[in-house]
């Protein structure tokens, strides 16, 4: 046991491990905060869809040999998020179908482009690391860490300031609109924030596992808590703890970072389901 701690202390000496820790925890916190709203608005899969869009945009950026991939990825993802959330109610193609269409389409086109205009010899490796985020979180530069901290502070700040409005438009958008809340504006803001988080989160868990970061903490919290604020707080706490533990475990055991975090999230979900049963049983 003490040996394990020594090993951990040794690893934490390295700046890249500390960077990964900071970025991982922040991204987990941001995605879980918004996850509650997304799950309740029946947009659980938007994380998956948008991350595929981001993947497609990344492929295009790589092919075009842009110096900074973010310049293309962020605007494209934001545009898709706005489109998906806006057409949610009245669109000819309904929410889930629209998300699925964009998601699969972007993934296919992205992969196709990467293959046709191969820029490196190891395409499978590139695609795999983009999808599963394998090691990129351990290769973060200082600038990227600062960028991530800045974005996270922005997202959390906006979320706190908009908290009451987010509640209103999630619980009953029609009532909010009827009584003079500018629902369109807030939906737009929400879409932008979600896109920013997803682009950030791609570094951590890769595009495929982002949905897990968005959905699992929210669903776990909803098992046990009954109010909106407790659910949000619990969801954030669960996500932060799983992310921190997941990164530590993955360093010690040499497992992939993203999948380890998600595996922990699944365990927590199981535990919360059990807790719900026990609490329910006690109340009877």
């Amino acid at each position: 046991m003490t040996e394990l701690f020594y090993k951990l202390a040794l690893y934490l000496e390295y700046p890249f491990v500390r960077y990964a820790m900071i970025v991982g925890v922040l991204i987990a916190l941001c995605s879980s905060l918004l996850g509650v709203t997304l799950v309740l608005k029946r947009f659980s899969f938007i994380g998956d869809g948008l991350s595929h869009v981001a993947f497609g945009a990344m492929a295009v950026a790589t092919v075009l040999k842009l110096s900074d991939n973010m310049l293309l990825i962020l605007p494209v993802t934001v545009a898709c998020a706005v489109l998906l959330l806006r057409t949610g109610q009245k669109a000819k193609i309904k929410g889930d179908a629209a998300v699925a269409m964009i998601s699969v389409g972007a993934l296919a086109v992205g992969y196709l482009l990467m293959n046709v205009f191969a820029t490196s010899a190891n395409i499978t490796g590139d695609v795999c690391s983009t999808l599963f985020g394998s090691t990129s979180i351990l290769t973060l530069t200082q600038t990227e860490v600062f960028l991530c901290i800045g974005m996270s502070v922005l997202v959390i700040g906006v979320f706190i300031l908009m908290y009451n409005r987010i509640f209103a438009i999630t619980f009953d958008e029609e009532f909010a609109a009827a009584t003079g809340t500018r629902t369109r504006l807030y939906n737009l803001l929400l879409a932008v924030i979600i896109a920013v988080i997803i682009v950030l989160a791609m570094n951590l868990v890769g595009s495929l596992l982002i949905s897990a970061l968005v959905i699992f903490p929210a669903l776990s919290a909803m098992r046990v808590f009954k109010g909106f604020r407790p659910v949000i707080l619990c969801s954030g706490a669960v996500s932060v703890v799983s992310a921190a533990l997941g990164i530590l475990v993955s360093i010690l055991a040499g497992t992939p970072v993203g999948s380890t975090i998600v595996a922990l999230d699944i365990l927590v979900f199981g535990a919360f389901c059990l807790a719900e049963r026990i609490i329910g049983g006690l109340q009877k």
């Binding site: 608005k41 009451n164 619980f171 609109a177 009827a178 009584t179 003079g180 009954k226 909106f228």
Partner: protein, 238 residues
């Protein structure tokens, strides 16, 4: 001047007109029931009055100091709300949002208003309970308390008793009657239940198809539209 006046209003959405040339007015303290068959445009009318849908033609005028964001609204329940984790207090408080202006959080005044309205609807004892675990009647009272937080003068209710058992429905009608009678709140309600509409409302608006009626409830009960509709309802239920 009337609080709300509709002049030659045509209703519809996506370019399709459902009802055309609608003329009626609502005065402060009125109790108006809107009846008509399914698909006759009752919900569209409410949404148009709330400015959620633009009218296809005609004009809707508000007067008597009524502002657009002073109309309270009790919508039909949505699927999302059935498994939404929210406490009663959080739901009621969300009705105060239009009083906050650009402030991000609720102040003491809004919290007091929410508390008062919860007491008025006798759901104050449930304030910490989870909304989705309440009975249908309790849920409607919570939503009514929320609507009261937003409304100062007028309430629009979209089938407030649908899905309630007879006892809860009766309580709901009495509650709405008290709000109209004691607090002087103007009530506009969509209803399927013509018998109760005639019993409680002061005025009836019947829309849809060839049948059009606007007038007092007593006249409606005698009118041809009212008789045929009430008869069809009764034979439909049997």
């Amino acid at each position: 001047m009337a609080q709300l006046t509709c002049l030659h209003v045509s209703l519809g959405y996506e370019g399709k007109t459902v009802v055309s040339d609608l003329n009626f007015s609502v005065n402060a303290g009125d109790y108006l029931c809107v009846v008509g068959e399914n698909g006759s445009g009752k919900s569209t009318l409410i949404k148009t009055l709330l400015n959620l849908v633009q009218p296809v033609g005609g004009r809707i005028l508000t007067g008597d100091g009524l502002k657009q964001n002073e109309i309270g609204y009790l919508p039909q329940q949505t699927a999302i709300q059935r498994d939404f984790p929210a406490s009663v207090r959080e739901v009621v408080l969300s009705g105060c949002l239009n009083r906050c202006g650009s402030r991000p959080f609720y102040g003491r005044e809004e919290k007091k208003l929410a508390q008062d309205n919860m007491e008025k609807m006798s759901v104050a004892s449930l304030s910490g309970r989870c909304y989705r675990e309440l009975s249908g009647g309790q849920q409607q009272r919570v939503l009514l308390a929320r609507a009261l937080c937003a409304a100062r003068k007028m309430l629009l209710l979209d089938e407030p008793v649908s899905g309630l058992d007879p006892k809860a429905a009766c309580e709901m009608y009495e509650l709405i009657k008290r709000l109209n009678h004691d607090d002087g709140i103007t009530v506009i309600m969509i209803s399927h239940d013509v018998a109760s509409a005639v019993k409680y409302a002061g005025h009836i608006l019947h829309i849809g198809g060839r049948a059009f009626f606007f007038g007092t409830a007593e006249d409606y009960a005698k009118s041809r539209a009212g008789r045929t509709f009430a008869f069809a309802e009764r034979s439909g239920e049997a």
